[in-house]
């Protein structure tokens, strides 16, 4: 095994270990990191949805963005570029979030849930792999969202980092200057949104993950995609590392509880666990990266990935306002419809955007 493979395996082990430790320090169970859940919490904290139990400005997201920004600048890879079907990507980001909230987690949390003994997450993984395979089918058919152009100014690349800086300010200040509505910033007083590791630790954990993910190009959909497409296992090693790192520390901390029933922030509707992550896997493969990878790319100046990030935040707001998001009780009828609509939408985009 060459050095790069050892590096991504170790990066995965560290990320998995850090995730388990964040739970130990106060994060919700099996949710040391979850790009989708944490963007959803941010959407709630900004008042974009009113699900009172999932509102918090997650420092991990801020840390990942800033970590990836500094790392890419240091590596000379920070470059504003965009223009590859930006609005399409925004809409795809919305549906990727809806899929994640039907399952209750992004691919990263899927690994962490498996490492906590949640068998529902294994069902989700099967859906995820099936989704990636479907995406690969479209890629082989010539799917392409088009070329991005390097911008003549890097200014646009600073929008996401400045957004992260603003979030950090709002997190520390949590100011209320709209007393009638109680906002503009909302923090959960109960439920998952109220469970959080200390801000400084979460921020440092995020910075570390931002650095590691930027350097290794870690991408959870990319792992299965590359394996199916070109029999390359590089990114999959990152996936395995996260699982192993989290599993070891979950056992050590006493968090590992195998089974389907009564898993934290999870439901047991197998079809929707499967189809939720199916939608995420398919969308991520068409976009060129999972939610974590999109967040990291957006921090390197990729304006199209930035559109995906804002699409996901918008999708989270819609998902909770329209009752698409699942709960421990399962997925409601509206969430089931939205998930199917999302899959149909991706098939339409996947088929329409074939190159001649």
């Amino acid at each position: 095994m060459d050095n790069r493979k050892w590096f991504i395996l170790c990066a995965g082990l560290i990320i998995g270990g850090v995730a388990a430790t964040l739970v130990k320090l106060g994060n919700p169970p099996n949710m040391g990191f979850c790009i989708a859940c944490f963007q959803r919490d941010i959407a709630g904290a900004l008042g974009l949805h009113r699900a009172g139990v999932v509102q918090y400005i997650r420092p991990e997201i801020i840390g990942i963005i800033l970590g990836a920004v500094f790392t890419s600048m240091f590596a000379g890879e920070f470059k504003a570029r965009g223009g590859s079907s930006t609005l399409v990507r925004f809409a795809m980001g919305m549906f990727m979030m809806i899929g994640a909230l039907v399952f209750l987690g992004c691919p990263l949390r899927d690994i962490l849930r498996m490492a906590g003994g949640d068998y529902n997450a294994v069902v989700g993984l099967l859906g995820f792999i099936a989704g990636v395979a479907t995406g690969v089918f479209f890629l082989r058919k010539g799917f392409n969202l088009g070329k991005a152009e390097n911008s003549h100014s890097n200014a646009g690349g600073y929008i996401i980092p400045l957004f992260a800086a603003l979030l950090l300010f709002l997190l520390l200040k949590a100011t209320v200057f709209n007393p009638d509505a109680g906002g503009p910033i909302f923090f959960s007083k109960e439920g998952p949104g109220s469970m959080a590791a200390p801000i400084a630790i979460s921020l440092i954990a995020g910075l570390l993950v931002g650095f590691l993910a930027q350097r290794t190009r870690l991408c959870l959909s990319g792992g299965f995609r590359d394996f199916i497409l070109i029999k390359d296992n590089y990114l999959l090693l990152g996936f395995l590392g996260i699982f192993a790192g989290a599993l070891i520390l979950n056992i050590f901390y006493g968090f590992f509880k195998p089974g389907f029933a009564e898993q934290p922030i999870a439901h047991t509707m197998h079809i929707w666990n499967f189809l939720g992550l199916y939608l995420v896997g398919l969308t991520a493969t068409l976009l060129g990266g999972c939610p974590l990878r999109q967040l990291v790319l957006s921090s390197e100046g990729d304006l199209d990935a930035g559109a995906v990030v804002f699409g996901m935040i918008t999708g989270a707001a819609v998902a909770h306002n329209f009752m698409f998001a699942a709960s421990a009780a399962g997925v409601g009828i509206y969430g089931q419809i939205a998930c199917i609509v999302g899959i149909v939408f991706m098939f339409w985009i996947g088929w329409s955007y074939r190159e001649a």
């Binding site: 590596a75 000379g76 890879e77 470059k79 570029r81 223009g83 590859s84 890629l139 082989r140 392409n144 969202l145 070329k147 991005a148 152009e149 390097n150 190009r217 991408c219 990319g222 995609r225 590359d226 497409l229 070109i230 390359d232 590089y234 976009l287 060129g288 990266g289 199209d304």
Partner: protein, 69 residues
């Protein structure tokens, strides 16, 4: 020498396009691209397919390489 431009394409499009040429039997391919990630991925594919790499240009925002059997 067949030429292909993978500038501005997101993952894994650069790899797919180069692999397509390889699968069609190309023995010599000239590839240009923009991102470091696509450079890494195309290089990795070339090595795994037994091609020799010759980096012509390796700029910050632009690269060019020749792949030959």
């Amino acid at each position: 020498m067949e030429k292909i431009d993978v500038s501005g394409l997101s993952c894994p499009m650069p790899v797919i396009k180069v692999k397509k040429l390889m699968d069609q039997g190309s023995q010599a391919i000239s590839v240009t691209g923009t991102s470091q990630v696509s450079k890494e991925n195309v290089s990795k594919l070339a090595v795994s397919k037994g091609f020799k790499l010759n980096i012509i240009r390796d700029g910050k925002d632009e690269w060019e390489m020749e792949l030959t059997k």
